[in-house]
Amino acid sequence: MSTTAIPAGTKWWNGGRSPFNSSYGKVMMWYFLMSDAFTFGAFLISYGTIRFSVNNWADPNHVFNSFPFAGHANLPLAFVSLMTFILIFSSVTMVLAVHEGHNMNRKGVEKYMLLTIIGGIAFLSCQAWEWTHLLTGEHVALLSNGTLDAIPTTVKANPWGHDLANAEMLAALQKTPHDQLVKIAASLHHGAEAATHTNYEALSNADLVNQISASGLHATHSGPIAFGGYFFGITGFHGFHVFSGVVINCIMYIKTKIGHFEQRGHYEMIEKAGLYWHFVDLVWVFVFLCFYLI
């Protein structure tokens, strides 16, 4: 702990000095972050309320089990751990940049700001991959109209309900129209060329149903629609904070590089940007908890 030399009996509130022994900008950054914490908190609590109110919320280990270039390997928690460690590490480089700023070491600030920016971009790239994977990866689920379809995870569709019993699945297949059957058959053999897709179009409904039921299809009920809205809404809002944090860090890097802070005699702006960046990491700790871990 630092031992800030504050004389005993200091009259903080008599005017002429900051009662919080801190600059206006830093105190206001703290209050902004506190209000932002309430915004994120409200989102996460709203998500928790809805999740508690339904029986069939998606199991995160089921939804988030893929890793880039790992194909269909079942790897729950792996990718999100990588994202978490990227963000923790970029928080460390940020606090090291602030530290170098206290020592008035311009080169050190530049180096660590650059590493922090790289960490932020790496995190955003991971998130872009994850979103793409969810928005394009189709899974066969029972729709509310009693038919089966291959649907992705979006704000309007959620294929992550309970497993569908085999008899129910066969009954639903009988009711499923041709175009949806073609889509399901194609999704079962994806990786195959588009040529096979046209072959499915030429098949009759009965042939398609036979092919699909012979393939050992694993179908589910549809899950609560709210899942996609909360997931994309909250991780999107957090991702936007990361993005704006990267932009702020880039501005700070440029200002350091051209010597603005050296002229000013202190690196307090790096501290304020650092507060914002650590807050982004702090929010991720809770997003990680609420969406992926439990």
Binding site: S2, T4, A5, I6, W12, G16, R17, S18, P19, F20, N21, S22, S23, Y24, V27, W30, M34, A37, A42, I45, S46, G48, T49, F52, S53, N55, N61, P76, L77, S81, T84, F85, I88, F89, S91, V92, M94, V95, L96, H99, H102, H162, D163, A165, H218, R264, H266, E271, G274, L275, H278, D281, L282, V285, F286, F288, L289, Y292, L293, I294
Partner: protein, 142 residues
């Protein structure tokens, strides 16, 4: 006043010397995250065998570890621990509202689920019995 570049700051904040503490906290955060992941994996791997109480208990432990991580980030990385006590209080005390927010809203969500499952109390809650056999269907893939 003339000796200060920024007259607002009476005593320039002084942060502890080396980078040792920063790296120590990095290892603490990594370690806590690894424990969380181990518990999360435990929940995933043992899910069908666990009782409701032990699942809830594990989740609460993960939540407490998360709060511990938050404490280290705020106190050390954001240097809030080095600020004047009054300032710490203006930030931490309002956030205490979250304690009640979380209890009240999750309670509400749970009550909502019970009302839905029991048709507002007019039929017994049969939901739990319906779900358990479906989850243990043989030959299913994750």
């Amino acid at each position: 006043m003339s000796t200060h570049t920024n007259s607002e700051i009476s005593f320039p904040a002084e942060h502890s010397g080396g980078t040792k503490r920063i790296w120590k906290i990095f290892w603490v955060l990594s370690f806590l995250t690894l424990i969380e992941l181990a518990l999360g994996y435990f929940l995933y791997a043992k899910h069908p065998d666990l009782s409701h109480t032990s699942i809830l208990a594990t989740k609460i432990v993960i939540g407490v570890l998360t709060l511990l991580k938050a404490y280290y980030i705020v106190s050390v990385f954001m240097h809030l621990g080095d600020e004047v006590r009054n300032m710490i209080m203006t930030i931490v005390v309002p956030l205490a509202l979250f304690v009640w927010f979380i209890i009240a809203f999750l309670w509400d969500g749970d009550s909502w689920k019970n009302l839905r499952n029991t048709n507002a109390g007019s039929k017994p809650d049969t939901h739990e019995q319906q779900v358990v056999p479906a989850a243990k269907e043989p030959g299913q893939k994750d």
